[in-house]
Structures are given as C-alpha cells and as structure tokens.
Amino acid sequence: MINVPLLIIGAMAVVALYLGLRARKGRQMGLEQWAVGQRGFGSFLVFLLMAGEIYTTVAFLGGSGFAYGRGAAVYYILSYPCLAYVISYWLLPPIWRYAKQHNLVTQASFFAEKYDSPALGVLVSLVGLAALVPYLVLQFKGLGIIVATASNGVVSPALAIWIGAVLVAAYVSISGVHGAAWTAVLKDIVVLVVILFLGFYLPLHHYGSFSAMFAAIEDAKPGFLSLQQSGTSLVWFDSTVLLAGLGFYMWPHTFSSLYTARDHRVFRKNAIILPLYQLILVFVAFVGFAAILKVPGLQASNVDLSLFRLSIDTFDPWMIGLIGAAGMLTALVPGAMITMAVATTVANNVYRVVNNNADDGSTARLAKLLVPVVTLVAVYFALTANNTIVALQLTGYSLITQLFPALLLSLLPNNPVTKVGVFIGTAVGVTTVAVFGFGYLHLQQVLPGLPQAAYEVNVGFVGLVLNVVVLAIAAAAGRAGEKNRLATGRYPE
C-alpha cells in the first residue's frame, strides 16, 4: 500500500535538497560568500530571509498548538513582530552599514568590533548558542511531529528527525546561505498557500463561519479568547510582547541574514510590508481555535499536534501530504539558517580568538565541518526534549534579548558604557534567565509577598530589567570617572 502523504513529503524534500544544492552553482564558497552571500542579495531574497523567520514551525505547529492550549495568549505571536518592525526601521540600517564597513559575517563580531573586545565576542557567541540550540531543537522536534503524524506513524519521529538533520547538514555545508535563501522561496510560497487554505477552510467547514466558531468557543469555554486573570495574563502578555519585540532581530541567524542585503533601503521598505505579511499568522491561530472543540483533550506538549489531528479528521491523504510538506519546509529552512549561524559563530568568534593564526580559509573550512556537529547536538536534544514548541521558543527569546541593550548603546554616537559594563550587564541578565527560567528557583521564593501580577512577568523581562540597571550603574560610574580625569588632567596611558 502506498502512503500518499509520505510520498508528497518525500518529493518536497527532494525538491528542497535540489534547490539547496543547485544554489551553489559556479560560486567559490569563501567565508563571506558562504555565510552572508557576499552581501549581494536583492530586496526580494532579503525580505524572504528575514520575513521567513516568522513562518517557522513555531508559527505552524506552535502557533496553532498555543491557540488550542492557551486561547488568546496566542495573540502575542501576532503582536511582537509588529513592534520589532517599528524598531527595525531605525535599528537595521546602522547595523548593516557598520557590518559592511568592517566586513563582518557574524553577530558576535559586531559586538567584538564595536566594543573592541574579542572576549565580549565570545560571551555574545555563548549567549547566542544557548538561545539557538533550543530554537534548533524545536525545529527538529516540529519536523519529527509533522512527518510522523502525516505518514500515520510509518516513519517514526526519531527517523524523521534524522533524515531532516542529514538534509539540512548536506545543503548547508555545500551551499551556505544561498541554499537557505532558495529553499526559503519555496517554503514561503507553499506555507502561505497551506496556512491560508487551512485558516479559511477548517473554521468554515466545521462551524459554518468565523463568528459561529468564536461564539461556539465562547459558549463552551467562556473567557478563553481573552487573556486570563492569572498565568497568561495581561502582565504576561505585555512583558512577553515587549521582550520578544526587542529581541526579534537579536537572533544570531536573523542578525547575520541582514548582512546579506546589497542595500540598506530595503529594511525601511520592509518595515511597511512585513506587518501585513505576518497578518497571515492569524490563520494559524484560527486553525488552533477550530481544533478546540473538534479534537478536544490534547494535553501538555501534544497540543502541538492540534493542527494535524484536525486536518487528518477533515482531509484526504494527499492534502495531509501537502500540509506535511509545508510543515517540513518550515522546519528545514530556519534549521539551515540556525545551523549555519552557530557553525560560523563558533569558527569565527570562538576558535579564532583561541587560535590567532587562523585565516579566512581555515575558518571557513572549520565552519563547514562544524555543521554536522551542530546538527547532531540538536538531534540529540530533539529526541529527548519534552517541552511544547512555544515554551522552547520563549526560553530562547528570554536569553537572546539580553543582548539588545548593549547593541542599542553601541549604536549611539557616544556610548556611555564600556565593555566591562556590557559584560556584567549581559551576564546578569542571562544568569537571571538561567536561574529562574529553567525552574531552579521561583521568583516567589526570592521575593515573597509581591502582588500576583509580579510573578507573571516574563522571566526574560526580569533579566532585561536587571541587565539595564547594571548598564545604568556602569554608565554613571563611567561618567564619574570621566569627570575625575578631566578635573585632575590625568589620563591613564
């Protein structure tokens, strides 16, 4: 018997691999070509690379799963990118200019160069790795769910994860960012069509109209489509939206994908179009909402299956195959970008600091060799992790946003904070997230007696506040030192 969905997913995987490998054609893959496409991508590819960031498995499975499990809390996925786009208008052009002037290929190099501190580059690399690994894990985890569910269990999640990992490692090693860019084109087309179709069809087919669906949910679960009194409350929503909005461009792979641009004007125009482009994510939420009453009872990390469970109840196998193929692409493309960012960062900002003699050629070779290693690490965690997709993503955001204050300060004409201040501030923020975010301690234990709302603040946001406090103290100390030097007329050598 032929497994139709599996056939379609397999065919799409072959097309993706072909596009990825073909992208290399006729190019010498030096470090700059491999990692940032020689800074020659036009507005279309840059748009897709950067916009593609929102159509990941987070959106596809995580978004519908979160809508299913938490109701209105899912609106955070629609909201924070908008704030990020507003900031991007002013944030991205100066980053791009500086990176071009200094031939940078990674995010960590940006910090190292701005603060004249390779050590800070290492710290930024580590923060980036700590945030990216869960993010990569969730792409693979999503991939496993998608292929296993769509193939009706013929392919186990573990096998799917292994196959996906091999695909990613192959085309990333060979074609670098060119491979990711061309599969991103395929991905966005397929995913947009599938999401729009599901978002319209499932509510209309099962409920008759959108308003009937919302009314039915309100009947069965009153208040589920507004933010809750506790847990995913308004305070949670605000702190999460702000945190993720600030952190949006702090992901190392997103940061370096902006280096690929040929021209910085593209970022400003993108800021106008991107909010509308991601409006389409609302249809993902609709799928999750539609599933609430039709496939009830999914618990814990199984909520991520809601999209598929409802689809399987509704569609013929070939449609399941197409949905599965779209889902697979949402995992492969970001997976490729992340793998590449991790490998380049380790080679360029850690290895090079340790081994001063390394030239561009050996760094590029090492980066490519690291690709399969990074993939293996992610596969290991994907096979063992048991969190929901959104939980993994928010952990990553909590960590990565800790880099935002230092980045913003570095763009000021006169940065009031030195590398030492940034070092401590970032370390304090990240430590806070590690201690509270991974459940070693709860805020209630350290600061009992605060109003309930205080405990609902996103832990990454708490870290961010402490981070900024440290930076403010460092800035004040720096200014006092400056005055002192002016007064005594003595400058340290």
Binding site: L83, V86, Y89, P94, L234, R265, L276, L279, T418, G478
Partner: protein, 94 residues
C-alpha cells in the same frame, strides 16, 4: 585597572563612524508616530481584554490586535514618507 583598558576603545570610536547622515537622530514627530503601535499593543490591550462584544464576528481583543497590525503598517508607511532621509536619497537616485 579596568578603566585603563577601556580608554583605547572609546578613543577608537569616532574613526569607526565616518560621518553618517543620520547622526541627528529621528525627529520628535517620527518618534511619536513610532510610539503609537507600542501604545496600541501594550497599553491598548488592557482596555479591550474581553471576548464580547464581537466586532465583525471577531472577539473584541482579537479585533483590536488585528486592527493594530494594519495600523502598524500604515504608521510605518507614514514614517517612510515623512522621514526627510528617504526624500534626499530618492532625489540622489533620480
């Protein structure tokens, strides 16, 4: 000790930023426009955090969020139009 190390970094900075045209920073008007989505998403939601009344069939909070996604795009379009920086560049192009 630590401060000594930082002096070269500070001294290096001016050379790292050859006369950028946007040194003056965005105007108050542009910044006020940019603040609107933040107010809409972060402050506005506190007033509309409810399911009813349904607006065009959408729960109240969802309708608000959707409205602000569209408004964000419009605000960014206005900022792009009003920013003198873009006008200068387009003249240069022609």
């Amino acid at each position: 000790m630590q401060r000594q190390k930082t002096v070269p970094a500070v001294a290096d900075q001016p050379s790292a930023r050859p006369g950028s045209p946007r040194e003056a920073g965005p105007s108050t008007l542009l910044l006020s426009l940019a603040a609107l989505p933040f107010i809409g998403f972060l402050v506005g939601v506190t007033f509309v955090n409810r399911v009813t009344p349904f607006i065009f069939g959408f729960p109240c909070l969802l309708a608000w969020v959707l409205l602000w996604i569209v408004l964000t795009s419009i605000v960014m379009g206005a900022i792009y139009r009003l920013d003198p920086d873009n006008a200068i560049k387009e003249e240069v192009e022609q």
